[in-house]
Symmetry: C2
Subunit: 332 residues, 2 copies
């Protein structure tokens, strides 16, 4: 079973229908009706030592921040703001109290930064390594919530920021590299990601956006989810993908493929969204105010995510299907 | 650091104040104001393979049921009913798909039984063993919610059901014992606990009860939490503790102390609550309708939980302080 098959197994055994459940399994968050005007968003993410992080190079305060950041990114992706945080922490028998103190300080700092509060949780012993699960509850106006399933043929596909930085940073950490400004930027992207909370709220409030989600498993997988749920396909152009200048040279130096990082690396915590082409200039204006946005392709009626290795408008470049080629915990 | 010290560390770093947070860290659930009349309750519990369960003897469907039951017990303990369930599941590299299918079926059955639905979660790879974290959101009427911190001197202390059964069951499983009716009852108490949801709601609606919580770490620890948070003490009588007839003989046969199981064994998922003595007969009437309730002692102004090894009313029996002598994940 791969990750999608596991999720599908649970989707088909979901218990009783609850009228307040506006969106269940299958988006960045579940959406629960609070009253006519408000929805609550609920997301849950687990970070496992040796799988998602390595205490050799991940400072505990930054891990505390990241534990919250990856959940806030899910709340942001549906247009919401975080309110309440719940932490379940599994600690091995002989954990380091100093590590725990720094982790809790990082988490507390991130709570302040994202304007939310730790409201409960659980503390247990793990059989091996640290296991961090956060549940975050957020809020969104009922008329601003954005789902994955609303992309339409003719939409343009946009992403925020630049892609592949965290994947490069992880590789640099694995190889024990530290020096250099560019390397520090990539490493920081891996250790301490910053979800696009403000930008996401502006996009949600704009009314331009049809579908949105955050990039956690890599564009190839995440955009494929968005397409699958919307019943559409996407064409994206490699020449349009927003990439930091030094990414290609860093990859080359390490004997890696930078496009692999960009498409499949995961942990970008950027936004991918679709909007009708008539709003392209509105989005460009918005981008100037709040952050870097790039048009990378368009939605059509075909299936899956197809990459054109080149610029748009050129003839005879084949489309390569890259759907779900991102990170999968259970891929063999 | 023990479990209480870890929780205290996080309690002091809880981020911004949120006006809707009626109760944060320190009770069975967090309580969030939804509107004037309603609160939502949020609880989170983690079960770790080899720490909380053993796949050698725990059938996956019963583990699926138990994963939800332990959370429903927290919702019940504050007088609420469960609504939405979120599951984060950590699975090792070579997990058994058949196990997963049975686990999900058990969880789905329990969702139907407790009238709630699986609404989201996360699936990740673990570094070793299965790790199950559930977050459950429930609802309670604002005028019926029951906290741990409201016991008053003069209250009587009550518990539901009988104590120590799950602890006996765990011990029987560890020793590979299966046969006999009594043994089956104890083993089932460990494998498949039934939270007192209906009883708890009746108690919450009655208006008689001052403070309530569920018994998960053993009476010695849980009642000590209730006393600490209420700023009171409790005296309980060993002769009053409700115990299944065959518990003592089973313990004796195994060379164990049955009182240890009753006070410190944990996983009873019964209710402990306090109510003024003038309501004793009302509670007895209620008990006849919905379940077995036993008065085990009273609240006073002293500190901690003190055990009298005998019946009430007898002179010259010393009080033994048993506060926090239950289960602690991090006790050295």
């Amino acid at each position: 079973l791969n990750e999608r098959e596991i999720i599908s197994l649970f989707s088909h055994s979901a218990g009783v229908d609850k009228t307040g459940l506006v969106k269940g399994i299958g988006d960045d968050c579940a959406a629960l009706q609070i009253d006519r005007d408000r929805l609550w968003l609920v997301t849950m993410d687990t970070l496992v030592e040796s799988i998602h992080f390595n205490t050799d190079w991940h400072p505990p305060d930054k891990l505390g921040r990241k534990s919250l950041a990856v959940n806030v990114s899910d709340i942001a992706a549906m247009g919401g703001s975080p309110l309440y945080v719940f932490l379940s922490l599994g600690l091995p028998q002989n954990f380091n109290p100093g590590w725990l103190e720094k982790f809790s300080r990082g988490l507390a700092e991130a709570c302040l930064e994202y304007d939310c509060c730790l409201a409960g949780g659980d503390t247990v012993r793990s059989s091996e390594g640290i296991v961090i699960t956060l549940t975050v509850i957020g809020e969104v106006a009922a008329d601003q919530i954005l789902y994955r399933n609303s992309a339409r043929p003719g939409d343009e596909v946009w992403v925020s920021g630049t892609l592949g930085n965290a994947a490069a940073g992880l590789e640099l950490c694995r190889e024990g590299r530290k020096g250099g400004d560019n390397m520090s930027f990539f490493i920081e992207s891996h250790l301490n990601p910053r979800p696009r909370l403000k930008l996401a709220r502006r996009l949600a409030a704009s009314g331009f956006v049809h579908a949105m989600m955050d990039l956690s498993d890599g564009l190839a997988t995440d955009l494929a989810h968005l397409c699958e749920q919307s019943g559409v396909g996407a064409v994206i152009y490699s020449d349009l993908l927003p990439v930091k200048e030094s990414l290609a040279s860093t990859a080359k130096e390490m004997g890696k493929d930078f496009l692999q990082w960009v498409l499949s690396g995961g942990e970008d915590y950027e936004l991918v969204f679709t909007a009708p082409d008539k709003h392209a200039s509105d989005i460009a204006t918005l981008a100037e105010k709040v952050g870097f946005l790039t048009k990378i392709g368009h939605i059509d009626e075909g299936g899956g995510v197809r990459l054109v290795k080149g610029p748009p408008g050129k003839q005879n470049i084949p489309q390569v299907d890259i759907s779900f080629m991102g990170y999968d915990h259970f891929k063999s």
